[in-house]
């Protein structure tokens, strides 16, 4: 087992596409590191450079103490799990799992023992004699895992290993892979575009955008203290609501003006983000997480200056909670990052965003308690937990925190 270290790693393809730029990242030995980001942000390329399948254009990758830039893939001692599993159709499950051991010319009994052990761990024992095509998606995924673990590599590299499974199986395999990784204690780099996977599986999560690392942190820290708008908007489901606000001084404190409405920020918000004072009179991007919104009728002492008014467009009763989409008369934040995040969800989402901007209307998603009685079409009052608001610089997209760290990383 060994740590994997990226020092200033870049990749430019012969056609001029720069897929990864100046990636600096150190995984710890035994760590579960997740690379997450929209599709096309360079996750796979970064992983393939570690595996040796893609040449490194600049910088250095180390596995343990060894610089591997010039080491051929077969000598890097890492095991990669591919998005499409890459199982050999002409070999049985047994031979697929045994593939690397046979290459190493290990003793037959030893190979057999290892393959059967892995098969037992992964619940594949009944299928050892089958060809991959006679397996379900989940079973194939397990074979791919088995083929990786019997190698006892220095590190696992997994490229969206669950993206071809249905939702239910994905949840199950998520837990299984996490458990397996913890048991084996092997350094793992896990690539996904699904931020839920990233949050639930990673010891730390590295968020990437257009080939650039945005932030590396444990999931909760990423969630609570996104360094920039992109991270804030990408991490979290449903996503953070992003509105354009103007910071104003009122009654001695700061408040955020959203269209004609005002949210008083209170002392705590300011104490946590001293740099906010510098933005007085300026536009900022205000981030509201859905769980920090609640039906005002259910909150006993929600002051008037910590409420927003909006028209309910849609409610989704999930049993445990009520997901509410409401239209608030305030412009959405539309920056490069926001457009990119919208485009990653779908072209129609990006188009809607532009439209909303024109109408000065933002659809805000709130996570209300299941007891809420709001109805579609109603105008309702929403209590906002202003201690949990996020603020970002409109120009740089950086999170507004304290003076020193402020707008730099």
């Amino acid at each position: 087992m060994a740590a994997v270290t990226f020092s200033d790693v870049s990749k430019t393809f012969p056609d001029g596409t720069t897929a990864v730029s100046d990636l600096d990242l150190e995984t710890e030995d035994g760590e579960f590191m997740v690379f997450v980001g929209p599709s096309g942000c360079g996750k796979t390329t970064a992983l393939r450079m570690v595996a040796g399948l893609e040449e490194i254009s600049g910088g250095e990758i180390r596995i343990g103490d060894r610089v591997v830039n010039e080491v051929s893939p077969k000598d890097r001692d890492v095991a990669m799990v591919f998005q499409t599993y890459a199982l050999y159709p002409h070999l049985t499950v047994y031979d697929n799992i045994a593939f690397s051991l046979k290459l190493r010319k290990e003793k037959k009994e030893h190979i057999d023992k290892r393959v059967r052990e892995a098969a037992r761990t992964l619940g594949l024992e009944p299928f050892l004699d089958r060809k991959p095509r006679a397996l379900s998606g989940g079973q194939r995924q397990r074979v791919a895992m088995g083929r990786a673990i019997v190698r006892e590599p220095q590190a696992f590299l997994m490229d969206e290993p669950l993206s071809n499974l249905d939702a239910k199986l994905r949840v199950q395999m998520r837990a299984e892979i996490s458990r397996l990784q913890r048991t084996l204690g092997v350094t793992t780099i896990y690539v996904t575009h699904d931020q839920v996977e990233a949050m639930t599986m990673g010891d730390r999560v590295a968020v990437m955008r257009k080939g650039e690392l945005q932030q590396v942190a444990p999931p909760q820290e990423l969630y609570d203290h996104p360094l920039n708008l992109f991270v804030g908007g990408f991490i979290g489901s449903p996503a953070m609501n992003l509105l354009e606000a103007t910071l104003e001084r009122s009654n001695g404190g700061l408040s955020a003006a959203l269209g004609d409405q005002r949210l008083s920020l209170g002392e705590e918000a300011l104490a946590a983000r001293p740099a906010l004072k510098r933005y007085e009179g300026q536009k900022v991007v205000l981030g509201l997480r859905p769980e920090h919104l609640e039906d005002a009728a259910l909150v006993t002492d929600a002051p008037a200056d910590k409420r927003l008014q909006g028209e309910i467009e849609l409610t989704e009763a999930l049993g445990s909670e009520l997901m509410v989409h409401l239209k608030v008369a305030a412009p959405p934040a539309v920056t490069e990052e926001v457009k990119e995040l919208a485009a990653d969800i779908g072209a129609d989402v990006a188009a809607e965003l532009e439209e909303a901007k024109g109408e000065q209307q933002t659809t805000v998603v709130g996570r209300f308690s299941a007891e809420s009685n709001v109805k579609e079409g109603e105008t309702t009052e929403v209590a906002v937990d202003t201690r949990a608001l996020h603020f970002f610089d409109v120009e740089s997209g950086l999170g507004i925190y304290d003076e020193t760290k402020g707008a730099t990383r």
Binding site: T84, P89, L103, P126, D129, K131
Partner: protein, 274 residues
């Protein structure tokens, strides 16, 4: 609407099959089974068949040994000029065999492009068995290489990547993964190329001549016999058909056997219910 259309399709198929099979049927109607066996007794016929089999076999080995790596390169790497190279490989397909023969003479003949160099080495190629082999290689190789390129290109690239991360070098990846996965296409191309080589006529007669026992292959012998006796030409033709069919069936069987080996679950596998 469907009826007339289906009838038309059936009619076209019937005409095609009748036309394609007629010469072969005619051949065997004219040649009694005894003559077929008897043909083997004639020295000319035996010589011609031996020359054909020997040169075809050697040419085929060359095609496979050189063509396979070329096809692997062209099928799995992308680089500038790849399309052009593939077109060049296909060129002999559209070249009239007689032109191929003249071209080979112009290249390897005594007064050809490489004539002086070959002379200096003391090598004489035209009108030898080597020339027959070269003619066959030139004319038949595209049939194999083209199909082999397609076969290698259709091997999932991540399977090759996976093999490399699992500890095998490029050579072993080729042998353990690419080759078995492309085997079906390779075998099909191989049988086509062999059949084409066995029937080679135009390039051979121009480049190698038609010397009995040396460069006179079965197709050339048929042509030579035609002047002497139509019947023995017929007998030789029928024999060549038999040999070709045997070869074709053998290669086809090999192909489908390999494919069958992959697709069927192994006999010891338990039932699919889990």
């Amino acid at each position: 609407m469907r009826r007339p259309f289906d009838t038309m399709l059936a009619l076209a198929a019937a005409i095609a099959f009748a036309f394609l099979l007629l010469p072969i049927v005619a051949l065997f109607l004219r040649v009694a089974p005894n003559d077929l066996i008897g043909g083997l007794g004639s020295e000319e016929v035996r010589d011609a068949l031996l020359v054909s089999l020997k040169t075809s076999a050697i040419a085929h080995v060359i095609v496979l040994l050189v063509g396979t790596p070329v096809a692997y390169l062209l099928g799995t790497r992308s680089f500038r000029g790849r399309g052009l190279l593939i077109t060049l490989i296909e060129l002999p397909l559209v070249l009239p065999p007689a032109v191929a023969g003249i071209g080979l003479l112009a290249a390897f003949g005594r007064r050809g492009l490489l004539g002086d160099e070959l002379e200096a080495l003391g090598v004489r190629i035209p009108f030898t068995q080597t020339a027959v082999v070269l003619a066959i290689v030139f004319v038949a190789s595209p049939f194999y290489v083209r199909q082999a390129i397609a076969a290698f290109a259709s091997v999932d690239r991540t399977l090759l990547d996976a093999s490399r991360t699992l500890g095998s070098g490029p050579a072993r990846t080729f042998r353990r993964v690419a080759l078995p996965l492309a085997a079906g296409g390779l075998a099909a191309g191989s049988s086509l190329a062999f059949a084409r080589g066995l029937g080679e006529f135009g390039a051979t007669i121009l480049f190698a001549g038609s010397f009995p026992g040396v460069t006179r292959t079965a197709p050339l012998a048929i042509y030579a016999e035609l002047d002497r006796s139509f019947d023995s030409a017929l007998a030789l033709g029928a024999l060549l058909v038999v040999v070709s069919v045997v070869v074709l069936v053998a290669v086809k069987a090999l192909t489908s056997w390999t494919l069958f080996g992959w697709t069927s679950p192994s006999p010891s596998a338990p039932s699919t219910s889990s």
